[in-house]
Structure formats: structure tokens, C-alpha cells
């Protein structure tokens, strides 16, 4: 039973990494939103599995937040943003998809090595889950770096945050997990609302954040 719960947790965490790669690969707006919703669903599954295994009912709240907010509400909201901004064209990536994927592989390998080496003596459940969580975080960062579009950067940020929650729930007995996840969710919601309300397009006529650079004072 212990072995099974371990394997299932790994499978879910591994699935999260896989979906992070799908996010990196996906270059259509609506596809990206759907994949992100899937990311959140798998996260909430993973968190509820941890809640079940660790017998920690408060984690169910985190799972519910992940499911309700990130798998349903935010994707729908972003969907509307995308439609209203009229940016359902392809996303430009810096470098080719192949190179981005290779970089992603390197990051996963790196996080594996770091985590498995540093936490040699730790509980295997936490140890390998942490390694996956770090991969998800790094992949989220990579996505934010390689995308220029504000909406896809938000998605990158949210997938990064999903990684943080995975890490927090994977470590047994970590305090304030629920509070942290709530706080993050509020932050994300604020950012989404920000994009939605300010409607960057009206100000700068583009959601390409490189356009923002032109407004900066320190550039000649």
C-alpha cells in the first residue's frame, strides 16, 4: 500500500511535469488555456491524494481552490480576455520550440540532480515529489522567459505557482500550506483582473510586453 501510494503520487507529479512541457510546446492561445486547466486539475488531484495519504483534511481546501479557481474560473476569464483582445493568433517564442524543449529537459535533469543529491536521507515520498515540484517551477520560469505575450506569461507564472503548491503539499507537516495557497491564488487573481481591467491593448495597442519597454524612461 505504501509503495502504491508512493507510485501514485509520483505518477501525478510526473504528469504535472509532462503537462508543463505541453504548456511549453503549445503555441495556440486557446490550446494553452485548456492545457493550463488540465495542469490545475492534475494539481488538485495530486494535492487531494496527498491529503488522503497524509490524512490531512485541510489539504482538501487547497485542492478545491486549485480546482475551482485555476481549473475553471481563471481559464474562463482569460479566455474572455483573449477573445476581447483579439489575440488568438500564434504565440511567438524566443528560439525554436526544439531548443526550448531541450532547455526544459536540462532544467528537469538539473532539478533531479539537485534535489536527489541534497535530500539524500529524506523521506522518499517528499524527496522525489520535491524534485518534480522544482522541475515544474523551473519550467514555469522558462515559459515566462521564452514568451513575449502577457497572457502566456501569466500562465507561465501560474504553472510556476502550481509547482510551489506541489512542493508545499508534498512536504509532510508543512505549516500554513492552505494559507499560502490562498494568498497565491489571490495574487494570481489580482494579476488576471489587472490584465482584464486595464486592457493593456487600449493603452499600448498591444499585449506584447516588449511594447512596454518603450515607455520606460531609462532607455534612449
Amino acid at each position: 500500500m505504501v509503495q502504491f501510494s508512493l507510485d501514485f503520487a509520483h505518477l501525478l507529479a510526473g504528469g504535472l511535469v509532462l503537462i508543463s512541457f505541453m504548456l511549453l510546446y503549445q503555441d495556440r492561445m486557446f490550446g494553452l488555456l485548456n492545457v493550463f486547466a488540465l495542469h490545475a486539475v492534475v494539481l488538485s488531484l495530486s494535492v487531494s491524494w496527498q491529503a488522503y495519504v497524509q490524512d490531512a483534511p485541510h489539504l482538501y481546501i487547497t485542492a478545491a481552490i486549485a480546482l475551482g479557481l485555476k481549473a475553471i474560473l481563471i481559464p474562463i476569464a482569460l479566455h474572455r480576455v483573449v477573445v476581447r483582445l483579439g489575440i488568438h493568433r500564434e504565440i511567438e517564442t524566443v528560439g525554436g520550440i526544439g531548443l526550448t524543449m531541450l532547455a526544459g529537459m536540462g532544467l528537469v535533469a538539473l532539478s533531479m540532480v539537485v534535489m536527489l543529491r541534497v535530500t539524500g536521507a529524506a523521506d522518499p515520498l517528499a524527496r522525489e515529489d520535491l524534485a518534480f515540484a522544482l522541475s515544474v517551477i523551473l519550467l514555469g520560469l522558462l515559459m515566462m522567459v521564452t514568451r513575449r505575450n502577457a497572457v502566456s506569461q501569466i500562465i507561465g507564472f501560474m504553472s510556476l505557482e502550481n509547482g510551489l503548491i506541489l512542493a508545499a503539499t508534498g512536504a509532510k507537516g508543512m505549516p500554513l500550506v492552505v494559507e499560502i495557497s490562498v494568498a497565491f491564488s489571490v495574487l494570481v487573481a489580482l494579476i488576471v483582473i489587472g490584465v482584464f481591467l486595464f486592457r493593456i491593448r487600449e493603452r499600448f495597442d498591444s499585449v506584447d510586453i516588449e511594447a512596454l519597454d518603450e515607455v520606460r524612461g531609462d532607455r534612449s
Partner: protein, 669 residues
């Protein structure tokens, strides 16, 4: 006994060289001399095989030549004998091929003496037992092959190739000199036995390993030192190209094995990592270069670069296992490496002979101008197809057997404890798989464009088959490819003493397995049976053919090609080699070669043709050689000023140097 006879054989080769200089150059004498080379090769081959199969102990001897009062130390052990097998089988096949092919050379006397010296030099490298003999014979090998490269010196390109080759050979020998300097230790031992028994400090041994990798890698064609190889190998006459590509690179690999596995003792863990990384990169880069090459012989030379990379991956794995005391795994990886070296010598010689036959039959090396040779040169086309299958690692031929072993070695490596290796080995495995798949695409392209389809030029449609000896040599090599492919167990057993000498253990004995399987570790882990695969394929083919011919209609009609209803009689409408490579160029070339396609479309109504311009950059040339060239250019431009000084300034220069020297002397004491 074996050593003694080998010495006489080398001497005999030297006599052949002298004889070739003085004898009149009639076709008959040239044939005789090549036949003599073939005979000598077969004698050494038989001796080496006997030494290996009887697992004879090492023999040493000392000749009163070389350095005065010290002499030359020679030794033959299992490693030497195995590589003698490779060298002399290649030498025999090349000499046989040359009995027919060498006569048509424009100036055969410019080739033959150096050819014999080249063979003698390679054989001498393999039995040298001290640094001086090794270096001297290494230089014999390099210089004689250089002379062969520039034998057609009227061609500007060949002279340039010879120049680059000479530079790289000098660089390699210099690195080798430093290796032996480091190994000689404080007492200055230059005999190999003293180096073997001395214990080397770890930093020093590491430096020696890197230098040995550079020295032998520059001769074998490891990236980024491979640049001379695709220039020089094709420039020589085809039987010499085959020797240089198929055999001389193996002598370089022998040098690496001798120094790193035999003389240096226990390796450090990072050695394996370095060798693996360079091997993997070389394999992939080499085959990518080959993919875009339109000169048949240069394409083959680039493919040699790839295969050398594969061999070094095997050696790197063996080093990694050896560091960690995983004896049986090290034996597996090492066997895979030497097996692949043997296989490569067989099929690469075969392919170069085939390319030589094409060159002879059509006068053309550019595959874009060939096509349809399967009709005009049916036998060459058949053996070349066999070579392509073997080099693309397709079962049941020999290329697959060694790559299979190598993959089994990779599957054993999760037990390696070092994290660096754990990270690198999966990536190297992927590179290797990629290289194997690309090699398949590369040879489909070469064969499909050169031998299939319709002739693209006059010379291709008027091609003729080569002579009997050349075809005989090619069929001999094809038979060897098939035999080593379906009976890999024999080769593995023959290589057992070599692996014991190099890594201390050997693979389990294969001949005693049921059905002549090869089983590297245990039957529950993996096994492969080339013979049965061959038998199975033959059986299913026969069943299919018989059944079809029994039940199906056997009517057959020749008609114009269908081509979706719009056949075009112009051969120019066929797919070219460039267009075949274009999709792969898009996938891999953009990152590696920075390929750019530019379409220049005329305005509507304009009468000029549209153009597609494809530009590629060579990353290694740009990153390293172009910079070295630039630096040398800059420095020499600056120093050029020194040629136009007044006498007073020259005098003051001399004076300054004198003062500097005196100062140095005063500080030194």
C-alpha cells in the same frame, strides 16, 4: 614467432617500396607489386589471428635499429594482434582491389612505393613497444599517407588538402610527443613496460589522457579536429582512401587504447565523461555533415567521423565502468567499441571501393550528376547496397551487431554512481540513436540518388563495370560484413583476450551459447541472434515469394512511369540529393548549421527565373579554425613590419635579445 615473422613482413613491405621505385612501370609489374602487398598482408593477418585465437602470451623483442645502443623494442600482445587483424584485412582487400584499380591510376609509380610504406608504418605502430619507435612509425604512417594524398598534385584542391593534413598531423604528433614526455616520468623511461609499471600522479595522468585524446583524435577524426579528414581522405586514390578511412583511423584508436587503457592504469571518473561527450558530439555532427555533402567520397569521409565517434562512445563507457570497478560492463562496452572498429573497417573500405568503382566507371564523384548506376554497374550497385545496409546498422549485418552491444552497455550504466555520468549517459544514448537514424537517411540519400533513378548526366548513362579484381575485393568485404553480422559471437570471443588486456575482464564465452546466440550478460536480460534473424528473413521471403508466385498472377508489363499521370521524361525532374536533404536540414540544420533558405521570386511578368538560395555555416570552422586563422593573420600582419626596418633597428633588436638572454641567465642562477 608471430612477432619475428611480423618484423620480416614489415621488412618485406619496405623492399616492395624500394622495388616499386626502381622497377619499370608497366601494368604487369604494378600488379605484381600489389599482389605482393596482398600476400604479405595475408601472412600478417594469419599470424595475428593465430596469436589471438590461441590466446598466446605477449612476445617481445629488441631490434638493433633506431636509436644507437638502445635499439627498438617491439611487442605483440592481444591488443596489437586484434588491430593487426583489422589493419591487414583492410590492407589485403585494398591491395586486391588495387591489382585491378591501381593500374588505371595516372601515375601509379607515385602511389605504389608510398602505399607499401604506409602499410608497413601502420603495422609497425601496432607492435612498437617504446615511445621512440611508436612516434617514428606514427610519422612514417602520417608522411606516407600525406604523400599519397598529394599524389595527384596537379589538382589544386588536393594540394590544399595535403597542406591541411600535414598541419593537423604535425599537431597530432606534437601532442603525442607531450604524452610520452609526461609518461616518461622523472627517470625518463621511454619503454612502454616501464611506463606501464610506473604509478602516475592523478593530475599528470589526467593531462596525459587529454593529450592522448587530442593526439589520436586528430588522426581518427574526432570533432573538432576532424576538419582535415573530409579533405584528405577523398583526395587520395580510392584504395588509399579506403585504407585511410577504414584502417588508419583504427590505428589511431589503437593508439588511444594503448595509452589510456594500457599505459595509464586506473582511470579517473571524469575521463569517461570527456570521452563520452566528445564521442557523442562527433557521431551526431559527423553524420549531419555527411547528410548535406554531395561529393560521394567526402560523404563517406564524414561518415567515418561519425563512426569514430561511435567507437569513442564505447571506449568512454568502458572507461566509466572501469573506474567504478564494474568489470563485466566495462568488458561489454569495450568489446562493442573494438567490434565497431572492426566493422567500420570492413564496410567503410567496401563503400570507398564502391565509390572508387563509380569514379572509375563514370569519372564523377558528385552524386548530383549520377543516377541509374544500378543498370549500368549492377554488381557494384549490389555490393554498395550491402555496404549501405551494414553502415546504417540494419540487421542482420555487422553494423547492427556492434551498435546493439553498445546500446546494451548504455542500459547497464544506471549503476554508475557519479551524477555527471548519470546525466550525460542518457543524453549520449539519445545522440547515438539519432546518429544511427540519420546515418540511415544519409545512405538512403546517397544510394537512392547515385544508383537508383535515371542518369542525370552523360557520364552516368555511359558508366561501365569495373574489373574482376576490384569486384572480387568488394565481394570479399561484403562477405566479411555478412559473416561478422550473423556470427558476432565469434568476433566477441576473439576479442576476449583484448578486453582482458584492456579492462581486466572479458565477456562470457559466446560460442557455447545455444543456437549461436549472443548473450552479453544473461539470457533473461538480452540476447540477439544474427544467424536466426538472417534465417528468418530468408524463410519469410521465400514463403512470401513462393506463395505469391503460386497463387497470384505472374503477368508483367513494362510501361512508362505513372507519376500521378504526369510523367516527365527529363531526368532533371527527379529528386536531387539537395532536395532530399532539405527537410532534414530544416529540422536539424537551423540550429546546427544556421541554414537559411531565401526565395527570390521575380515580379509577375518578369522573365528571369525564381531562385532558392540555401546558405549554411560550418559551426566548428567558424568557432575555432576561422579564429585561429584570423589570429595568425593578424600576428603575421603585425610582424610583417619587421621585414622593413633599418640596419640600426635590426642591430638594436639583436642587442635587446642579447641583453634579455643575459638577464635571464643571471636571474636563473
Amino acid at each position: 614467432m608471430a612477432l619475428h615473422l611480423a618484423q620480416w613482413c614489415i621488412l618485406a613491405l619496405a623492399f616492395v617500396a624500394i622495388g616499386a621505385v626502381v622497377a619499370p612501370s608497366s601494368p604487369r609489374t604494378i600488379r605484381t607489386f600489389y599482389a605482393a602487398c596482398a600476400a604479405i598482408s595475408i601472412v600478417v593477418l594469419a599470424l595475428a589471428a593465430r596469436h589471438l585465437l590461441t590466446q598466446a602470451p605477449a612476445e617481445t623483442s629488441r631490434l638493433p635499429i633506431g636509436l644507437p645502443w638502445i635499439g627498438a623494442r617491439l611487442r605483440i600482445d592481444a591488443i596489437s594482434a586484434f588491430f593487426q587483424l583489422i589493419v591487414n584485412f583492410g590492407g589485403f582487400a585494398a591491395s586486391l582491389y588495387a591489382i585491378g584499380y591501381g593500374v588505371d591510376e595516372e601515375s601509379p609509380k607515385r602511389v605504389l612505393p608510398f602505399y607499401a610504406i604506409f602499410l608497413a608504418g601502420m603495422n609497425l605502430v601496432l607492435i612498437a613497444d617504446d615511445a621512440f619507435t611508436f612516434l617514428a612509425s606514427w610519422e612514417f604512417m602520417s608522411l606516407s599517407s600525406w604523400a599519397l594524398v598529394v599524389s595527384r598534385h596537379r589538382d589544386r584542391e588536393n594540394v590544399q588538402a595535403g597542406y591541411v593534413y600535414l598541419l593537423m598531423a604535425a599537431f597530432g604528433t606534437f601532442a603525442l610527443l607531450l604524452v610520452f614526455g609526461l609518461l616518461a616520468g622523472a627517470d625518463g623511461h621511454y619503454g612502454f613496460s616501464a611506463m606501464r609499471s610506473a604509478s602516475h600522479a592523478s593530475g599528470l595522468a589526467g593531462a596525459a589522457m587529454v593529450l592522448a585524446l587530442v593526439a589520436t583524435g586528430s588522426k581518427a577524426g574526432l570533432a573538432p579536429l576532424h576538419v582535415w579528414l573530409p579533405l584528405a581522405h577523398p583526395a587520395a586514390p580510392s584504395h588509399v582512401s579506403a585504407l585511410m578511412s577504414g584502417v588508419m583511423t583504427k590505428v589511431a584508436i589503437y593508439g588511444f587504447v594503448r595509452i589510456v587503457f594500457d599505459l595509464l592504469g586506473q582511470p579517473a571518473w571524469w575521463w569517461g565523461l570527456v570521452v563520452l561527450a566528445i564521442g557523442g558530439a562527433t557521431a551526431t555532427l559527423g553524420v549531419l555533415y555527411a547528410m548535406f555533402e554531395r561529393d560521394l567520397k567526402r560523404m563517406l569521409a564524414y561518415s567515418t567521423v561519425e563512426n569514430v565517434g561511435v567507437v569513442f562512445v564505447g571506449l568512454g563507457l568502458a572507461l566509466a565502468f572501469k573506474t567504478n570497478g564494474m568489470g563485466s560492463a566495462a568488458a561489454l562496452a569495450f568489446t562493442a567499441a573494438v567490434f565497431h572498429a572492426l566493422n567500420h573497417s570492413l564496410f567503410k573500405s567496401l563503400l570507398f571501393f564502391g565509390a572508387g568503382a563509380v569514379l572509375h566507371g563514370t569519372g564523377e564523384r558528385d552524386i548530383e550528376k549520377l543516377g541509374g548506376l544500378i543498370h549500368t554497374m549492377p554488381q557494384t550497385a549490389f555490393v554498395f547496397l550491402g555496404g549501405c545496409l551494414a553502415i546504417s546498422a540494419l540487421p542482420p549485418l555487422n553494423g547492427f551487431a556492434s551498435e546493439w552491444l553498445l546500446f546494451q552497455g548504455i542500459l547497464l550504466s544506471p549503476d554508475v554512481p557519479q551524477w555527471g555520468l548519470k546525466l550525460a549517459i542518457p543524453a549520449i544514448g539519445a545522440l547515438l540513436a539519432l546518429a544511427a537514424a540519420l546515418a540511415g537517411a544519409c545512405f538512403v540519400r546517397a544510394y537512392g540518388v547515385a544508383f537508383l533513378g535515371r542518369p542525370r548526366s552523360e557520364c552516368a548513362s555511359g558508366a561501365h563495370e569495373v574489373d574482376l579484381f576490384s569486384r572480387g575485393a568488394m565481394f570479399l568485404l561484403l562477405a566479411a560484413c555478412v559473416l561478422t553480422g550473423i556470427l558476432p559471437g565469434l568476433v566477441i570471443d576473439a576479442a576476449a583476450p583484448v578486453t582482458i588486456a584492456a579492462v581486466g575482464e572479458s565477456m562470457p564465452r559466446q560460442v557455447s551459447q545455444s543456437w549461436l546466440n549472443i548473450v552479453p550478460i544473461a539470457a533473461s536480460r538480452s540476447s540477439y541472434n544474427g544467424l536466426l534473424v538472417m534465417a528468418f528473413i530468408a524463410f519469410t521471403t521465400i514463403v512470401a515469394v513462393r506463395a505469391i508466385h503460386k497463387f497470384a498472377s505472374d503477368r508483367l508489363r513494362r510501361a512508362p512511369a505513372w507519376d500521378c499521370g504526369f510523367p516527365n521524361a527529363d531526368p532533371a525532374t527527379q529528386y536531387t540529393a539537395a532536395s532530399f536533404a532539405q527537410p532534414i536540414g530544416r529540422v536539424f540544420g537551423e540550429t546546427v548549421f544556421r541554414t537559411r533558405e531565401k526565395v527570390d521570386m521575380p515580379a509577375p511578368g518578369a522573365l528571369r527565373p525564381a531562385r532558392l538560395v540555401l546558405s549554411m555555416r560550418d559551426p566548428i570552422w567558424d568557432a575555432i579554425y576561422a579564429r585561429i586563422h584570423g589570429a595568425v593573420d593578424y600576428v603575421s600582419g603585425r610582424l610583417n613590419v619587421l621585414q622593413f626596418l633599418t640596419i640600426r633597428l635590426y642591430l638594436s633588436l639583436v642587442f635587446a635579445v642579447l641583453i634579455a638572454l643575459l638577464l635571464a641567465v643571471s636571474i636563473w642562477t
